[in-house]
């Protein structure tokens, strides 16, 4: 098979595209169901996010009279496409490794920032004052969490690169291969600060409580999404489902790839995703309240940044 064809398949079928969409929506359904059970409710069916998506397809998309229509309707498309490519960039241990032609860790980090930028653009294109509020909050949050995550990923890249005798490697495939032969970074105390920084970045990037400040529905009425309805809103739901898969599987690839191949690799990966979703999303969002934007900003410039810097320093010293 030609490389172009495999790449296309990776973007649209597995692990990107259709597979990631179904996976992401199922993870969201699992999250809602478990959240309800933890609160002593019955909760929605597991397939609820799919129902929501079908429903949104039946509704009308309204464009505010003052909004810029191409930007307003184009923003969610850009978000979905960037996430489709991003899913195809994350290797799955023992199952799939992306074509180097597609890009490396740096491209992936850029793509991970696209949804936040898309939300900012959407918010400002909608010309709603709440959208503008969401815009400024999203931007503040992004500025706060971007430095820690880049440093945490850098620590992993340095550790792998030095372990392989070089300086630094930005290939996720190499990072996974290194961990498969030397043990997961999850069990390596040197990498714990980086892991902690990544764990703190994760709810902020996914926009869940305590960091769902830009889309807080009780404060800014879902901020950038306020003016969206129907299929356009559905595209945003697709984007966030894909993003959950990207961020979770990036975390798995960076810190805990399983040493299995084939079908067991797939099963193990799915279990890891589900467990991380429950621990990292459901429990966190149920047990905390929403931070104010200034609190979140201060928080990210304190702990995650310190942890990330500490991890880079220790990795350099240890090696």
């Amino acid at each position: 098979m030609s490389t172009q064809l495999t790449t296309l398949l990776a973007v649209f079928l597995f692990p990107g595209g259709l597979f990631a969409l179904v996976l992401g929506l199922s993870l969201k359904g699992l999250d809602r169901r478990v959240a309800a059970r933890l609160q002593g409710r019955i909760g929605p069916p597991l397939a609820q996010p799919f129902f929501d998506l079908v429903k949104l397809g039946f509704k009308r998309t309204m464009v505010p009279a003052t909004a810029s229509q191409p930007v307003f309707l184009g923003a969610p498309l850009v978000g979905v496409v960037s996430m489709l490519v991003a899913v195809a960039l994350v290797p799955v241990s023992g199952l799939y490794s992306p074509d180097p032609m597609l890009g490396n860790l740096i491209v992936l980090l850029y793509l991970l920032m696209v949804p936040a930028i898309v939300l900012m653009i959407a918010g400002s294109a909608s010309t709603s004052p709440y959208g503008a509020l969401g815009f400024s909050r999203e931007m503040t949050l992004m500025l706060a969490y971007e430095a820690p995550i880049v440093l945490a990923v850098l620590a992993v890249a340095l550790r792998t690169g030095m372990g392989q005798g070089g300086v630094i490697t930005f290939s996720l495939t190499d990072i996974i291969a290194y961990q498969r032969s030397h043990g997961m970074f999850l069990l390596d105390p040197v990498m714990w600060p980086a892991l902690a920084a990544f764990a703190l970045f994760f709810p902020a990037n996914l926009g869940i409580i305590p960091f769902d400040i830009p889309e807080a529905e009780t404060e800014v009425l879902e901020g950038p999404l306020l003016e969206y309805s129907g299929p356009a809103l559905g595209l945003f739901k697709v984007m966030s489902a894909l993003k959950a898969v990207v961020v979770l599987s990036l975390g798995i690839a960076l810190f805990m790839p399983l040493p299995f191949d084939g079908i067991w690799g797939l099963v193990g990966w799915l279990v890891q995703l589900a467990v991380l979703m429950e621990i990292g999303v459901t429990v966190v969002r149920l047990s905390m309240g929403r931070m104010r934007i200034d609190q979140a900003f201060g928080f990210f410039l304190k702990w995650p940044l310190l942890l990330a810097i500490a991890s880079v320093v220790t990795v350099t010293i240890v090696a």
């Binding site: 809602r32 909760g43 929501d52 429903k55 509704k59 879902e222 999404l225 306020l226």
Partner: protein, 145 residues
């Protein structure tokens, strides 16, 4: 061709709810919030979700006797909700004005201004009654799809 009705019944499993407070005394609003949010009367099992924006809504719950002051705003918000939508009037206030019925500043009954589909009487109605009202609204919504 047979696929289309199927998708419609799937779609009606996801009604999103929006509340309009048209001058309610808050009794009905508290009941609505508890209906959906507290563990005992879980409305999420019907697939419902409260949404912050009228643009996302499918089922509108209106409470209160529609005071003169709030009427214009309530109508504007109501028109922002994309079709197909269903309107549920919660409490006795929207029907007759309830305890406010003789007041000079009250526009009830609200079905002069809003296309009310389901009435949930009570002052305030019990949570079970509100859930039944929403369930009825879902049936009406299915027909409108």
């Amino acid at each position: 061709m047979n696929m289309i009705p199927d998708f419609k019944s799937i779609a009606t499993k996801s009604p999103w709810i929006y509340r309009i407070n048209a001058g309610s005394c808050n009794g009905c609003d508290v009941e609505m919030a508890t209906t959906a949010l507290i563990p005992r009367y879980d409305i999420e099992r019907l697939g419902c979700q409260y949404c912050g924006s009228p643009r996302h809504a499918d089922i509108v719950l209106i409470s209160g006797p529609l005071t003169t002051k709030v009427m214009q705003a309530a109508l504007v918000v109501f028109n922002e909700i994309p079709d197909p939508k269903v309107t549920v009037a919660v409490g006795v206030c929207p029907i007759s004005g309830g305890i406010f019925r003789e007041s000079y500043s009250v526009k009830a009954p609200i079905d002069q201004y809003f296309p009310v589909d389901v009435n949930v009487p009570g002052c305030p109605p019990r949570p079970q009654a509100i859930i039944e009202g929403v369930a009825k609204a879902i049936e009406i919504w299915r027909e409108r799809m």
